[in-house]
Symmetry: C2
Subunit: 336 residues, 2 copies
């Protein structure tokens, strides 16, 4: 635990957890108002946590499960993440707001573009074969022609912040984009927009389907055997939303029987935990498939994402210090 | 050899060589004027070639080395390629023009973008490690942060058609672009422009250097040991121009001693031929380096490129039929 104060009226901020502590420099760089910073590591004692929270105005964390009944000034539990599944709301005082942070959509848009380009230009077979000594794919030897992404139709399922950013990137490059979402996309954002009731028609027209839709009860298992069968045989499914939006077994079957051509999977059906730190993302051997690109929930995990996130965090701390309105509120004060 | 004629005033076109013959359908689809088409395969006899050329108005080819003294009507030798090193100009009648074709810049722009995204997002280590079962790069496990391409500066060396197209794609995605070329780029095309005399300053400021400059005597060996040393240690060199613009040994040394971080190589110092069809692109073992992405002169080799190329070819055939001006003239009639 360390403490420093920049002034008598400083906002007292607790950086809570090992994940947060390395970003203290971002807080100090960005804050243009007086702050007092206290750091609490994961292995701090309950007494040390208690001591840090007494007198704190705000906590920045990704996990919050320490009862903060002795934190009379606490008015903001600010997440350094979008997800708030590790916040025990019973531990948050009534008068405190809980806010989350974003900033990952730009990184994920680059990831989607990268993987679509790699599929279309057949990166893996071309590079592997040439590295092994073959010129079979060479233009100089008049090898087989490949394709350009600008000849393809990219479908965006779910048109929130992430869908919008991916669509904008594709359209900036002249790629045709169609969307399927609860609310229609604006005509200047996409080439065509489908309501969710026409999901089947949407799927039938796409070369890539990028799943960006929120994981809620109504979307769980939305992409199942029947939906996959509606896709083109040459199409590729890209999931950057949440694993359970897609039915695990159905996707595996579609990939191994040629129902669709391939998949790019960044989000999974299961994650490792302390009892099984190398637990695979699926109980099925997706990692044995050549027609799968797989990444460990990493598409949005960039320095620039973290920097944008701290811009949002510091904006909320500044708002708290000035008595202004908080942004990205997950739970309003007194809302329980 | 096959022949068909669509009318009395048809333009007589010879498709000359095995590389050209499969594209007859493109010619037929695109031509809106009467044509008579004759195909000549590579293993046709000299007499058969002669017979095809007699009465021909135009030849489409990538190689032309048959003396065409008995081709009194021949007015156009139209390449299905940009390069004309396989045209024996002594075989082309004085009254015939030689024209080439382009259409590959869009594909190469996608290739440059793809490989820059792959480097920046660390595609290979992330995918390899996760496929092997590790979550070390996971955002969900708070792994190391990576970068976004929009935080990088892309340098374009040579600002012709290809450089322009790459710059436009990058800038559409909000990526900073600087150019270095003989003639300055327009202010609305790049964020900064350097003359060739300031190549060293240009190189020092780029995270990626995309070599797009024509291979002529003045540019041969332009990127040598000294130039590579000017680049950032974390920078990546991408060559989509011609191999000899970069000094082979110097690039290899820079990659193996950490002078620069990596290279993307699509164009090579040597190519296979009949005597050695698996000859590697370099006498040095670039294929053993982890920090090299390598492709067999294939970055521009797409269906869409070939289609644009045939748009140009048919536009010239149409111009010939109408008595209008030819485009992309490599040698004017009577210019020898």
């Amino acid at each position: 635990m360390q403490e420093s104060t920049s002034g008598a009226t400083a906002l007292k901020v607790v950086l809570y957890g090992d994940i947060i502590l390395p970003n203290e420099y971002r807080l100090r760089d960005k804050s243009d108002f007086p702050i007092g910073v206290t750091g609490v590591s994961d292995d701090a004692s309950d007494a040390a946590k208690e001591a840090a929270l007494v007198g704190a105005d705000a906590v920045v964390c990704v996990r919050f499960d320490h009862p903060s009944k002795h934190a009379p000034r606490l008015r903001l539990v600010q997440l350094q993440a979008a997800g708030y599944d590790r916040i025990d709301f019973d531990c948050v005082p009534d008068r405190a707001a809980v806010c989350n942070a974003f900033g990952h959509t730009r990184a994920i848009a680059e990831y989607a573009l990268m993987t679509m380009l790699m599929w279309t230009h057949r990166w893996k077979p071309v590079e592997d074969s040439f590295r092994a000594g073959s010129w079979e794919y060479s233009g100089a030897m008049y090898g087989p022609l490949r394709d350009e992404l600008n000849s393809r139709t990219v479908g965006i399922l779910g048109f929130g912040q992430m869908g919008r950013e991916i669509a904008a990137g594709c359209r900036a490059l002249g790629i045709r984009v169609v969307a399927c979402a609860r609310r229609p996309a604006a005509p200047d954002e996409v080439d065509a927009s489908y309501p969710l009731e026409r999901l089947d028609d949407f799927l039938a027209g796409c070369d890539f389907v990028v799943v960006c839709i929120a994981h809620v009860a109504q979307t769980e298992g939305m992409i199942d055997r029947g939906r996959l069968a509606r896709m083109k045989r040459g199409a590729v499914l890209i999931n950057v939303a949440r694993g359970p939006v897609v039915v695990e077994q159905d996707l595996y079957d579609a990939l191994t029987t040629g129902v669709i051509a391939g998949a790019v999977i960044d989000v999974w059906w299961q994650y490792p935990d302390r009892s099984d730190p190398r637990r695979r993302g699926s109980r099925l051997p997706f990692h044995e498939l050549e027609n799968v690109f797989m990444t460990p929930h990493s598409s949005g995990w960039t320095e620039q994402m973290m920097d944008r996130r701290w811009d949002m965090i510091v904006a909320n701390l500044r708002a708290l210090w000035r008595g202004e309105r908080l942004q990205n509120v997950v739970r309003e004060p007194g809302a329980r």
